[in-house]
Each structure stands twice: as C-alpha cells, then as structure tokens.
C-alpha cells in the first residue's frame, strides 16, 4: 500500500499535469480564435471599401434611372398630346 506522503506527491503531480493541460488547451483555443479574427479583419478590410464604392454606384445609378424616367414621362406626354 502507498504511504500518505507518496499519495500527496502523486496528487501534487496530477495537479501540475492538470494545470499544464488546461494552459495548453487555452493557448490553442486563443491561437485559433486570433487566427480567425485576423482572417475576418482582412476580409472586412477588403470588402468594406468595395461595399462603400458599390453603395455610391447604386445611388448614382438610381439617380440616372430617375432622370431617365422623367425624360421618358415627358416624351410620352408629348407623344400623347
């Protein structure tokens, strides 16, 4: 049978191993999260200016469509009258 001091020594060692495993797991998880965050950040940096540009283009196109609509209406009224 193991005596008490040996048992406590084994317990202490188990405690160290548990802490080490937890630290490694935490480190791995943080690393993965950071990688994914950077990936998202780079995609966001690429897409945000493009989205802004597209928004501007869409606004311009809508204005052009409105103007064309007005011109068409005027011409149609002239044709009818």
């Amino acid at each position: 049978m193991v005596d008490t001091s040996t048992l406590y020594l084994i317990l202490a060692m188990a405690g160290f191993i548990i802490v080490a495993v937890l630290m490694i797991h935490h480190h791995n998880c943080s690393d993965l999260i950071n990688r994914k965050r950077n990936e998202f950040k780079s995609i966001s940096q690429q897409l945000t200016p493009r989205i802004e540009m597209l928004e501007q283009e869409i606004v311009d196109l809508k204005i052009q469509i409105d103007e064309t609509d007005e011109q068409i209406d005027v011409l149609q009224q002239q044709t009818q009258s």
Binding site: L32, E55, L61
Partner: protein
C-alpha cells in the same frame, strides 16, 4: 486515504469544468466570427447583384428613351451620305451609327472613347470587350463602314 481521493475527485471535476468552459468559449467566438463573415459577404453579394439589376434597368430605359426620341423626331438612321462626312473618322462614324441604332448609350460611348486610349484598340473592339455589343452588331457596323469606304473609293 479518503482525503486524497476527495481532493483528486475535486481536481478532476474542476479540470473538466474549466476544459469545457474554454472549449465552449472558443466555439462561441468562432461561430460569432463565422456569422459576421457570412453577413459581410452576403451584403457584398447583394450589392453586386443590385448594381447589376440597376445597370440592366438603366440600359433598358435608355434604349426606351432613345426609341421614343427617334419616334418623335422621325426615325434617324445613318445614311451613306452621313457617313461620308469628310471631317469624321471611322471610329466616330461607327459610334454615331451604334448610338443612333440604340445599341449603345451616350455614356457607354464616352466610356469606350476613354478606354480606346488605354486598351489601344479600335472602337468596335473596345465595345465588344466591354460587352456593349455582340458580334452581329459589330459585323453590321463594319459592313456599314465598308460600304462607306467603297462609296468613297468610287467618288
């Protein structure tokens, strides 16, 4: 003997709890990032599709407008005499023909003229590269131009 076993059981319990907490936190963070990424990509895709639809709508309306203008002023087609104007070069003749036929808009014409210098191509080539006209229209435009050239030769 009982005390160490209790301590060991407690340590194992704490270990499992912490391990699970870390894993759950990681999963939650990754899911959140994936959702944000998906949202951003979805927004971009939506904008691209919306712009495409608007461009098509604008093109359609411009053609409608040109048709209306032509109907009001009487249908104008480019005659050989028109094309024979001495001060007009080949590209201008083709551009006038395409605009009056309603194949391209004034804005597209301006874009083509700008791109001609950059791409170092002729008018029809740039129009086809930008996808404004198809090969049939290009052939028609070339044909009209050739007819004009021949008529100039006879003169």
């Amino acid at each position: 003997m009982i005390v160490p076993i209790i301590i060991l059981a407690l340590a194992a319990g704490i270990f499992l709890f912490l391990y699970r907490a870390i894993s759950m936190n990681k999963t939650a963070e990754l899911n959140s990032l994936a959702t944000q990424k998906q949202t951003l990509k979805g927004k971009y895709q939506f904008m691209v599709n919306h712009r495409k639809e608007l461009k098509q709508e604008l093109e359609k309306k411009e053609k409608q407008l040109i048709t209306l203008q032509n109907n009001q002023e009487g249908i104008k087609t480019v005659s050989i005499a028109d094309l024979a104007a001495e001060d007009v070069d080949e590209n201008e003749k083709v551009s006038r023909y395409l605009i009056q036929e309603g194949k391209i808009t004034m804005e597209q014409n301006e874009k083509v003229l700008q791109k001609m210098e950059i791409l170092q191509m002729d008018y029809i080539g740039v129009c086809m590269t930008l996808g404004y006209i198809d090969i049939k229209t290009a052939k028609n435009a070339i044909k009209i131009n050739k007819i004009h050239s021949k008529s100039e030769g006879f003169n």
